[in-house]
């Protein structure tokens, strides 16, 4: 999850501090109980999520680990949220914030459909979310999400965060494992990929991020969004994926067993 502006607060200086002092560090200066409240929120910025547009639609993938400090609180978090049958959202940042606001977005999208007799566009849905988050700006929400979907204009992908920022693009990765995911994703990306090639690229990118980033792990889920909506393509335990990509050579194992028997 991008660290831009996350949790930073400048110190409040009043007119009395004219006495020159040394540089004081910027602190997150909350009241005592507010600080406790912030710490209680389950942070899930230890994450790797990615999404990209290609010839066949949008590919969305994520890991499933949630960490509270150094403790792994869950290995099975659903970080790809199904807003409606043709739109997906990814979760990075505060788990409750992402879950709640995506659920809320799903409701708003449905109301839009009922009021306007047509589906909402990806652009519209992401704008609804961005505006909602903007109105809570500075209050400590932590959301770094990608809205992926298929509407009348074709595949759509937007990045939305808790600052109210909203970016249109065709390749994004969010979370602590994103640098590793970008490395694999950017080097293997071609617009003209088949769905199988694209899903394999997405899965490999998540796997490599979980390999190098301690805060990412669990199950690598891959979803595809096409003209008829989204489908879940795969969900693989990254521990097993490791041996799938790097199988142990059998000869070496036999050798070790012979040595151990002696």
């Amino acid at each position: 999850m991008p660290m831009i502006g996350f949790g930073s607060n400048s110190e409040m200086l009043d007119g009395f501090s004219s006495v020159p002092s040394f540089d004081l560090p910027r602190t997150t200066d909350f009241d005592g109980f507010q600080k406790e409240a912030v710490q209680m929120v389950k942070p899930a910025k230890g994450t790797t999520t990615l999404a990209f547009i290609f010839k066949g639609g949008v590919m969305v993938a994520a890991d499933s680990r949630a960490s509270m400090g150094g403790y792994i609180s869950s290995q099975s978090v659903k970080k790809i949220i199904e807003i409606n049958p043709y739109m997906l959202g990814t979760m990075a940042g505060g788990a409750a914030d992402c879950q709640f606001w995506h659920r809320n977005l799903g409701i708003k999208c449905r109301l839009h459909e009922l009021a306007n007799k047509r589906r909402i566009s990806v652009s519209g849905a992401s704008k609804l979310l961005a505006n909602m988050l903007y109105s809570y700006r500075g209050m400590g929400l932590s959301v770094g999400t990608m809205i992926a979907g298929w509407d009348e204009t074709g595949p759509g992908l937007y990045y939305v965060d808790n600052e109210g920022g909203r970016l249109k693009g065709d390749r994004f990765s969010v979370g602590s494992g994103s640098p590793y995911a970008y490395g694999v994703l950017d080097s293997g990306y071609k617009f003209d990929m088949s769905v199988e090639e694209a899903s394999e690229l997405a899965r490999r990118s998540i796997y490599h991020a979980t390999f190098r980033d301690g805060a990412s792990g669990g199950v690598a889920s891959v979803y595809h969004v096409g003209p008829k909506g989204w489908t879940k393509l795969s969900g693989d335990d990254v521990g097993e994926l490791h041996y799938h990509y790097y199988p142990v050579a059998p000869a070496t194992a036999e050798h070790e067993m012979v040595e151990a028997a002696e």
């Binding site: 009241d31 005592g32 406790e36 929120v41 899930a44 099975s76 978090v77 409750a96 709640f100 199950v219």
Partner: protein, 223 residues
């Protein structure tokens, strides 16, 4: 002039541990009965398990005053639901209600670490685990509270269920029988009591099945 800090906190941690395990046709919810504040024990006989509906039982550790307030809200919402729909709330429905209730106090949270256990619409056991502000997921088993870091690794070892995210889909329910699950819970609390000062005194176990709820109590170390 640095910002002034409050000299009191509205929160307190009363300690304790809660565990729930889902089975094929049962659900076991257990919690110790010790209520503490700092290094003092307030009560050796305080129940942390509360029945919300016929098929949904909540167990919460953390700040018990917030837990009480949370229960009041859920109880009244359940009553309204019963009046409007002429039936009891199902466990998955209660799970989402709890999530929304917690999130509505996102900026002044309930200091409650919840585990919701019950039976789903098909009669299979289900356990939902929460954080303080409402993020939740359906799991096969969970531990929350002061002893959770001691208990979870052991439950992972004994009950490790396939992740619900795997494809092809695999069941996250434990294949254990009801008596095996209850024995496991007793073992787990006995061990947690040894190493966690906030867990002990008595263990209260509720076993939820289609035909009703059974309660069992076991003594734990009181030191």
């Amino acid at each position: 002039m640095t910002k002034q800090h409050a000299n009191w906190s509205p929160y307190d941690n009363n300690g304790g541990t809660c565990v729930a395990i889902a089975g094929s046709d049962y659900c076991v919810i257990a919690a110790d009965t010790r209520m503490s504040t700092g290094y003092s024990i307030l009560s050796r006989d305080y129940s942390k398990i509360h029945k919300l509906a016929d098929k949904a039982v909540l167990s919460s550790s953390g700040f018990q005053a917030d837990v009480k307030a949370l229960q009041k809200v859920l109880k009244s919402r359940h009553l309204i639901y019963q009046h409007q729909h002429n039936k009891q709330m199902s466990c998955p429905a209660m799970a989402q209600l709890l999530s929304n209730t917690l999130y509505f106090k996102r900026f002044f949270p309930y200091y409650a670490f919840n585990v919701l256990g019950g039976l789903d619409e098909e009669g299979k056991g289900c356990v939902f685990t929460y954080d303080a502000v409402g993020s939740y997921e359906k799991v096969g088993y969970s531990a929350q509270g002061s002893g959770s870091t001691l208990i979870m690794p052991f439950l992972d070892n004994q009950l490790k269920s396939p992740s619900p995210l795997l494809l092809p889909k695999q069941d996250s329910i434990t294949p254990l029988s009801e008596s095996e699950a209850v024995d496991l819970v007793k073992t787990v609390f006995a061990s947690a009591t040894e190493r966690d000062i906030y867990t002990g005194d008595k263990l209260e176990i509720m076993i939820l099945k289609a035909d009703g709820i059974k309660t069992e109590v076991m003594e734990l170390r009181k030191d």
